[in-house]
C-alpha cells in the first residue's frame, strides 16, 4: 500500500526531514508512526499526500508512483487518502453534516448520494443526533469524530491520522482509537502518527519509530518505548 524506497527529504538550508527511509506498509495494515517532535513524522505524511517532493528516493502509494504522477492527478490521489489531524480542521461556520458533505461536494459527487452518505457515516461514528450542530457546540472528542467521518466518507483505501488523539483526554482517545480500529477492520490501511505511549502499548500493532529523520525501529506488535 505504501512503499518508501530510500527516501530523503531535505529542507533548505540543510535541514533534514527524512534521511534514507525505506518502509513498506501492506494493504489492510494498522501502523503507528512514533517519534519525538522533529523526528520526521509530519514530513512522512506530507510526502504521502504529495504536498512536496522527496529530494531522493521513490514513493509509491496504492501502486502509483508519486514522482511520475502528473500535477492534475494529485487531487485524485488525495481523494484516495483520508486525513485526520490533531486540530480537526473543521469549518467553524458550517454544521457537522455540511462539514462532512464538503468532502463529497468538492469531489463533485451528486447531491443525492451526498444526502444518503452523510447521515450514514455520522451514524457510524456515533454522531447521528448532532448532524445540525456546529463544531463549536461539540466536545473535542466529538469534533474529532466528525473529522474521522469526513476522512472516511469517501471510503479511501488509506487513512492517515496525524496525532488524532493529541488534543484529547485518555478516555476520549480510546473512543477515537476504537473508531480507527473499526475502520481498519473494514480493510482500510491506517497509518497513525502519535505521541500517545499508552495507546500504542495497548494496541500492540506495528510500530515504526523515527528519530532524526531515520527509521530507528520497525517491529510488528511493538511498544512505544
Amino acid at each position: 500500500m505504501i512503499r518508501f524506497e530510500n527516501v530523503t527529504k531535505t529542507y533548505d538550508p540543510n535541514i533534514i526531514g527524512l534521511e534514507d527511509v525505506s518502509v513498506h506498509i501492506e494493504r489492510g495494515e494498522f501502523a503507528f508512526l512514533v517519534g519525538h517532535s522533529g523526528s520526521g513524522k509530519s514530513t512522512f505524511i506530507r510526502l504521502l499526500l504529495k504536498e512536496f517532493e522527496p529530494s531522493e528516493g521513490s514513493i509509491t502509494v496504492a501502486g502509483r508512483n508519486l514522482q511520475r504522477m502528473r500535477r492534475a492527478a494529485v487531487p485524485h490521489h488525495r481523494r484516495s487518502i483520508g486525513c485526520v489531524f490533531q486540530d480537526f480542521k473543521l469549518l467553524p461556520n458550517r454544521t457537522v453534516a455540511e462539514n462532512v458533505a464538503y468532502a463529497l461536494r468538492v469531489t463533485g459527487q451528486p447531491a443525492r448520494s451526498i444526502r444518503r452518505k452523510v447521515p450514514e457515516i455520522l451514524q457510524l461514528v456515533g454522531l447521528g443526533d448532532k448532524m445540525s450542530n456546529r463544531p463549536d457546540e461539540l466536545s473535542a472528542g466529538e469534533q474529532q469524530r466528525v473529522s474521522v467521518a469526513r476522512a472516511f466518507v469517501n471510503h479511501p483505501s488509506l487513512l492517515v491520522a496525524d496525532e488524532p488523539t493529541g488534543n484529547l483526554d485518555p478516555d476520549t482517545s480510546v473512543g477515537i482509537m476504537q473508531l480507527l480500529y473499526r475502520i481498519n477492520r473494514t480493510g482500510t490501511t491506517v497509518l497513525m502518527a502519535t505521541h500517545d505511549r499508552e495507546m500504542v502499548d495497548k494496541m500492540r500493532k506495528r510500530v515504526i519509530a523515527l528519530g532524526g529523520g531515520k527509521v530507528i525501529r520497525d517491529e510488528d506488535k511493538g511498544l512505544y518505548r
Binding site: 487531487p75 464538503y102 468532502a103 461536494r105
Partner: protein, 365 residues
Amino acid sequence: MRFRFFFSEALDSLTRNWVMSVAAIVTVLVSMFVLGIGAFVFFNLQNATSGVRNKLEIEVFIKNAASQDQINQLGDQIKSMPEVKDVNFVSKDEALNRLRESMKGHEDVLNALSGNPLPASYEIFLKDQNNIDSVARKFYTNPVVDNDISSHLNADLSPSATSMPVSAGDGTKFTAGMYFRIDNEVMRVSGDPNGDTVPMARAQVGTTAAAHGAHSEIVNTDGIKTGGETTDRVLKATNYILIGGAGFVALLAVASILLISNTIRLSIFARRREVEIMRLVGATNWFIRWPFVMEGVFTGLVGATGAVIMVLLVQNFFVNNIVEQMPFLGAETVPLFWLLLFIIGGGGVLGSVGSGLALRRFLKI
C-alpha cells in the same frame, strides 16, 4: 449544483468582506463610467466628422459673368477627371433656396439682401479624399472660376458688416459679414450687433469651409473650398482627446484590477482554512479557484452595471436638456446594445484579470 456551490461561496466571500468589495465595485464603476462617457463623446465626434467627410469635398464657384457654354464645359471637364466620383451643379437660385432653408427662423437676415448674391457652383465629390488638394489646385487658374469670391460677396452684400469675430465649434475664428458652408449651404453670418450667432452656431464642427478673408485656413483660394483640412484638424483634435481619454481609462482600469486583486487576496486569506481542507480532501485546482474567479467577475459586473446606469442617465440628461437648448450640438445617444456590451464586457474583463492576478500570486495549489 456545482455552479450553485461556486456561486454561494463567491457570494459569501463578497458579503463577508463587503467594505473591500464595495471599494472595488466603485472603482470599476468609475472607470467604466469614464469609458462609457468617452464612448459617447467618441461616437458623436465620429458622426460629426464622418458627416463632413461624406459631404461636399470641393466646391467650385462660378463667376457671374460666365456663359452657359463655359459652365457646361467646366462641368464636362470635372466629370472627366479620374479622381471625381460625382459632381453636382448648384444654380444661383438653388444656392439661395438652400440658404433660406438652413436659416429658417432667421429669415430677417436674408431679407436684408438685395437680389441674389450667391454664385452658382459645382459640388465635387471625390473617390479618395486625399486628393482634395491636388484636384482643387486644377481650378486655381480656370477663368470661369471665381477666385475672388469674398470681395465680390462683400461688395454685393454687406457693406455695413461689422467685424465681429465669432467662433465655430472647431475654434476657427470668422468675421461677421462673410460666407461659409453649413451642411452644404453657403450662408452668411450677419453682422448683428447683438451678437446673434445662431446661424453660425448651426455650422457643425468641420463643416465650415469658405470664410472671409484670411481668418480661415481652409480657404485655398476664395473660390475653391475644401472640407478636408478642417476635417483633418477635427480628427486630429479627436485623436488627442481619444488618446488622453484612453490613458485615463487605462489608469482607472489598472486601479480597478489592483483593487479587485486585493479584494480577492483578502478573501483567499479569509478562506485559507476552506482552501486547505479542499486541497486535503482532493478538490481539483479549478474547483478551488472558481469561487474566487466568480467573486472577481461578479465585482466587475456589478460595477459595470452601475456604470451603464449612470452613463444612460447622463446621456439622457444631456440629450434631453442640453441638446434641446443648443441643437447645433446634435448629440446622439450611443446605440444601447453596444454600450451595454462594451461596458459589461469591460467590467467582466477587469474582474477576471484582477482575480486571476490574485490567484496566481496568493493561491498556491
